[in-house]
Symmetry: C2
């Protein structure tokens, strides 16, 4: 991604440092600061074993208006019990002292290996450098600093015109294990310079996440540390009063767009991924049913290995649809396409299907598996990737 396309967000500053928490010789710590009147929305993992920083961030959000976000890579501070909580608290205390705010105004985020105690001394040592580094144009460096198994930094940015005023939406994300998200995988931070109430900002975030990050964590899966934060600095002077206003619609669309781009980047950087595949289910009796079929197909190791082999082995797609748990599915009405190529109809291979046509679709880097269940009007759409040797390599050797 070209750094040139990443617009700083007025009012939002980022500091980056190499704290040596786990990695040596690279940046691994980010501090983001917000103006006093900024608003923040956030969504977190639903994992019961959520990490200490997630617990702390949730509590702090309920207590005070955030002024700072502290993000470290290399250690997830998850599965760390009471000492983990103490470490997260201590990190907030350090950042608050450095920023001149209350401890409750800091939101902590961690990503990396689970189950290892998080040392806080590196945070204390790095804090002066972090604060000295604060600047609005540090997004690209920050995006690199939060990477773990990611192979590319993930950034997206939009400049929109609202009533003649330029408004910015810029975000970064990290995450590379998307098949089942890795231990402490997905973080995303998106900022804008509009003024907007925290409630409205939260709606904006939830709408954007539903069709982006929640449509790549393919089983509603959530790691111990997943979090997505949307910040609004207010610095543009543009105020968003409602979601339905022209300005509100423009902002919501831009946030959704940035989230979708960041989510796609995670799939493209999926561990070992060589393909990016949209699984689109239509004609379902309910949204739940549509998602259930999309999940089953998108998660199937047999479908995923066929994607890796670029093998139009449609029998695996059909078998996955058949076992997705749809009650009284009439297989005669199910149709399955690869892009525009109809492969299944009437309970089996469509008479017009040719292997050559299927192969041509599968040979692409990105394509769609479309499934119409012929039962109703509901639909669902997920992004998935293939399952390759490199997925095994990355995950069998992650700690080595």
């Amino acid at each position: 991604m070209m750094d040139a396309t990443i617009h700083p967000v007025p009012g939002v500053r980022l500091g980056v440092a190499a704290a040596g928490i786990r990695y040596q010789g690279r940046d691994d710590l980010v501090l983001m600061t917000l103006p006093a009147d900024a608003t923040v929305g956030a969504v977190f993992t639903r994992n019961a074993f959520c990490a200490a920083p997630v617990t702390v961030a949730r509590e702090h959000l309920a207590q005070a208006a955030p002024r700072g976000l502290l993000i470290n890579a290399g250690n997830a501070n998850a599965g760390t019990g009471a000492p983990g909580r103490q470490a997260a608290d201590r990190c907030c205390e350090l950042a608050a002292a450095a920023c001149g705010c209350e401890q409750e105004q800091i939101l902590p985020f961690s990503t990396g290996v689970i189950g290892e105690d998080l040392p806080t001394a590196p945070f204390a040592a790095a804090m002066p450098a972090l604060v000295a580094d604060l600047a609005e144009d540090n997004w690209p460096r920050a995006a690199r600093a939060i990477m773990t198994t990611d192979t590319v930094a993930k950034l997206a940015s939009r400049r929109l015109d609202i009533d003649g005023v330029a408004v910015i939406v810029t975000g970064m994300s990290k995450g590379s294990g998307m098949i089942h998200p890795d231990m402490a995988t997905m973080l995303a931070f998106v900022a804008t310079d509009v003024a907007i109430s925290a409630d409205l900002l939260q709606s904006c975030l939830q709408a954007a996440v539903a069709d982006s990050f929640n449509a790549i964590t393919v089983d509603g899966d959530t790691s111990t540390n997943d979090a997505c934060v949307l910040m609004a600095s207010g610095a543009s002077g543009v105020t968003i009063e409602s979601a339905d206003s022209t300005a509100g619609q423009a902002l919501f669309a831009a946030v959704a767009d940035v989230c979708a781009e960041l989510a796609r980047a995670i799939v493209d950087d999926g561990e070992g991924a060589t393909k990016r595949v949209t699984v689109a289910v239509s004609g379902a009796a309910s949204a739940t049913e549509a998602r259930q079929v999309a999940d089953t197909v998108a998660l199937s190791p047999l479908v995923k290995t066929a994607l890796f082999a670029a093998d139009p082995n449609w029998g695996r797609i059909l078998a996955a649809v058949g076992r997705a748990g749809v009650e009284e599915l009439d297989v005669e009405r199910v149709r399955i396409w690869l892009d525009q190529v109809l492969i299944v109809s009437g309970g089996g291979r469509d008479p017009g299907y040719t292997e050559a046509a299927g192969q041509a679709v599968m040979d692409q880097h990105a394509f769609s598996i479309r499934i119409d269940l012929g039962r109703g009007e509901a639909s669902s759409r997920l992004l998935t990737c293939d399952l390759s040797y490199d997925y095994i390599k990355i995950n069998a050797e992650y700690r080595s």
Copy 2:
């Protein structure tokens, strides 16, 4: 498995032939015949896209007492629509003519690639040889003939004494993709020479399957062709009147035992598998909840790749438990062991845990992941295997 331990089942004969349906130069077709007063129980896939032979076998079972089972490897006759149904009917017609029984007394089974039309000419051509080959001691050859990606034939046999009479329970199975069963994966055929009503035999089969074949198909997953059949020839002269009688208990135990051994053999021969791991969940509030947690852990690609690496990366187990969807899980009460080694307590790593102790367990070929949720009395147990490079290789190259 030593052929010497496989006892023929009086009254049950098997014929084997090389029909060249897909494979060349190897046996691929089996006919099993039963006496007129035999009883049969069966369980089938719940996949909505079930194969034509499954539909036909279900119908025939409801219509008549089976006299013959016809099993082919290499082509699953699944996803084949109306022509697939015609092919399955034609195979039954051929076998019925050869056996001198009605078409409805033949049960067809197919395993192999999905979505290719099943040619019936090879069946017609092979039928005389198949019938000429019928013999009670052909179990080992039959077990080899039904293999697809299996690397070993799977057989189990017990001789028990019921009131001074020797009674036999012998079975064979095939299946090598167990993680998500391959397209048309799991078939098992078990026979005994007791006399028993079809209803009681069906209960016996269902009890045995619940703790064997259904405890390895780790998400309740079923391929398009899965089937397990239990036959009773009555030839021993021993009659089983009830499940509670001494004789009934002995028979049920032997059938369960044979099914468990055949199921273990499938996991051991799992595609690319190098480990056989029991996931045992206890302390759950309900059996559904216990199974849900066991499924999530046993299916997790991250857990499975850690198993392959023999890496005691317990954070992945903890994360899988946390995302299994258990409502209001108190993570403080969850305990996780590798065999007898306690790894997680109090929401994180147990203070007494050492990496060396965890490593020693993981270095074994077979071991247990035990999870106590601390919420109730329900439990569940699954067998799983690791996810290796060879799984990818086998499934990315299956059709090549």
